[in-house]
């Protein structure tokens, strides 16, 4: 397990300020208006150079949307994105994406994210062509080197997507993105759909590449064991907001937000009898993003909720040197160590 606070003192390379994303919502001709959904609501986040930040939350909590907005492929409705201190938001999609070439995104389903008609060599070459990197000989050499770096070899050039296994596809997807020489890589569920032994090798590869190429990762996942294993810091999202953010070791050992506690308690473990007392009290399904409860969005499901929780949306407040939590009752909740 990697420990560590916010990579000590290093400047942030990516920063999000009060990001807000409204999805859908349109007025059809002569139809009833469909209100938009607030997929991301006022998220502020910094990513320090060289760190791995985990973004954790239930399905539909907006973590993938947040990743895509940071990437620039999805437009933000409000807020700013800063890359190296420069504002790179507020432009149209093509310009936003171009200004953020240093950020690249690895899709969740590697098999579906590669064109079935193209050979692996062609797929890898294409990214370089699009970015105008090198002539044919140089590209060829770089692809061979990158295939080696992700644990494949040059013979994979001629293969097709359907001929590869899940783990191999993950490696190809990583190779394609890393060929573009990004500094920040957004990894969306890098291990979903892989069996445990393959997961372990892919995770090792991800960490190895980070060290070798000096990358910064934003890792989107709902698999807590993966996050705990490779992340320096963790941000917990619930219905479009970050409810807790802090060093992974601290968040996992002493979760402050009731939602984090329920998430950790819900994680399956192999040792019986290690449940966190009083934390498995999550009630019902997450509410619809169209009709958010007033105040703290988590209060209807919260074991510690009270009537005052409905009054205002709690803001992130410091609960430690680098640990922030958005819950007005966090002091009232006992810190219970958990093990995953």
């Amino acid at each position: 397990m990697t420990t560590g606070a916010r990579a000590g003192g290093t400047a942030s390379i990516l920063e999000a300020r009060d990001l807000e994303v409204l999805l859908g919502g349109r007025q059809r001709f002569l139809g009833t208006a469909v209100p938009p959904v607030r997929a991301v609501a006022g998220v502020s986040l910094t990513l320090a150079a060289g760190e791995t930040l985990g973004l954790v939350g239930e399905s539909g909590c907006g973590k993938t949307t947040l990743g895509r907005v940071l990437l620039g492929i999805q437009r933000e409705s409000a807020g700013e994105v800063l890359l190296d201190g420069r504002i790179v938001s507020g432009m149209d999609r093509a310009d936003a994406r171009k200004s953020r070439n240093a950020i690249q995104y690895v899709h969740q389903d590697a098999g579906a994210a590669l064109d079935p008609w193209w050979s692996i060599g062609g797929i890898l070459d294409e990214g370089l062509r699009v970015h105008g990197l090198g002539d044919a000989v140089a590209r060829h050499e770089r692809i061979d080197r990158m295939l080696g770096a992700v644990g494949l070899d040059a013979s994979f050039r001629l293969r097709y997507v359907h001929e590869l296994s899940g783990g191999q596809l993950r490696r190809v997807a990583l190779a394609r993105i890393l060929l573009l020489e990004p500094r920040i890589v957004i990894l969306d569920e890098p291990t979903s759909g892989l069996d445990l032994s393959v997961q372990a090798t892919v995770l090792r590869l991800i960490q190895d590449l980070k060290a070798r190429l000096g990358l910064t990762y934003l890792l989107i996942s709902h698999d807590l064991s993966v996050v705990q294993r490779i992340c320096d810091r963790v941000a917990i999202m619930y219905l479009g907001r970050i409810v807790e953010i802090g060093p992974a070791a601290q968040v996992f050992a002493a979760p402050r937000h009731p939602y984090t506690r329920t998430l950790l308690a819900a994680a399956p473990r192999l040792v019986p009898g290690h449940e966190m007392p009083g934390a498995n009290l999550i009630i019902g399904d997450p509410p619809s993003a169209r009709h958010l409860p007033p105040g703290c969005a988590f209060h209807p499901r919260c074991a510690f909720g009270e009537s005052k929780c409905t009054e205002a949306v709690p803001r992130l407040e410091a609960a430690g040197a680098v640990h922030e939590v958005a819950c007005r009752r966090w002091r009232a909740i006992d810190v219970v160590p958990v093990s995953i």
Partner: protein
């Protein structure tokens, strides 16, 4: 090659490919293969309506022309119409479908509504109307067939492109910053070309059939062209005595259309990217 192996197992498809191959070879070498190449235009009234014999295996027609020669020479016209009509229809329909499928909003909507309008025009009626306007000729028949056939390609490509534009690998390409032209022609097009090829193959047979109908109605090829449909039309008044006059051109139409349809059905079964193999 896995594709060829799978195709070889599909007997009807192989038969279809065989027929199409023969028709193409016959069309290319028609003047060399026809026993009386001059019979495209010449007439020999003394040899009128002779039944099949060694000298004239398919018999002779009402002007004493060798029917075998005319069937062979007619294959050229039939194939040329099919190729030109389907080719032009693809050139119009495929790019429109790609654009309509990949774009959103007014561009896509306008495109598809225009396509729907053309799709609603009945092929034969338009062909007859154009033949009335321009005078019956092969050109007017081809124009009418093209004008009514391209919407089919637009529809197919539109549906495929729409499906593909929502797929993850297109999203991934947008994420690495690939341009629209690159995505459309190098990724969307190859992935939706299979149903287009299938449709084109079946469309060839269909076009030959409709061209024959137009010839039969006197709205397509004009005498003395060795057109199959025209020949059947001319033979009507000599039935049933001169059965060979209509039978052999009819068989030619039947076999050619059958060949293209069998081939098209066979292609439909094998167009699957999973059959692509590196080894």
């Amino acid at each position: 090659m896995l594709v060829l192996k799978k195709f070889a197992k599909d007997k009807p498809a192989v038969l279809g490919a065989f027929i199409v191959l023969i028709v193409v070879v016959v069309a290319i070498f028609a003047p060399l293969l026809a026993p009386y190449p001059g019979d495209a235009a010449a007439s020999h009234l003394l040899l009128r309506l002779k039944p099949p014999s060694a000298a004239h295996p398919f018999g002779t027609d009402n002007l004493g022309r060798d029917i075998l020669s005319r069937v062979i020479l007619g294959s050229r016209g039939a194939l040329a119409i099919a190729l030109l009509v389907v080719g032009t229809a693809m050139l119009i329909g495929v790019p429109l479908g790609l654009i309509a499928g990949y774009s959103r909003g007014w561009l896509s909507e306008t495109n598809m509504r225009i396509t729907d309008v053309f799709l609603a025009v009945p092929q034969l009626i338009l062909a007859l109307a154009i033949a009335q306007l321009m005078g019956p000729s092969l050109q007017s028949a081809m124009l009418a067939l093209t004008l009514t056939y391209w919407p089919f390609f637009t529809r197919i490509v539109y549906a495929e492109a729409r499906r593909l534009s929502a797929s993850l690998f297109i999203d991934a390409l947008q994420c690495i910053g690939a341009g629209t032209t690159r995505i459309l022609f190098l990724h969307v097009l190859p992935n939706c070309i299979s149903p287009v090829i299938v449709r084109a193959t079946i469309g060839m047979g269909f076009t030959i059939l409709v061209a024959a109908v137009l010839g039969f109605l006197g709205m397509g090829a004009t005498p003395p062209d060795p057109d199959w449909g025209l020949a059947i039309s001319e033979s009507r008044q000599y039935l049933p005595e001169a059965w060979w006059f209509s039978t052999f051109p009819g068989l030619a139409i039947f076999l050619t259309v059958l060949g293209f349809n069998l081939l098209g059905d066979g292609l439909r079964d094998i167009v699957d990217p999973r059959l692509r193999r590196s080894r």
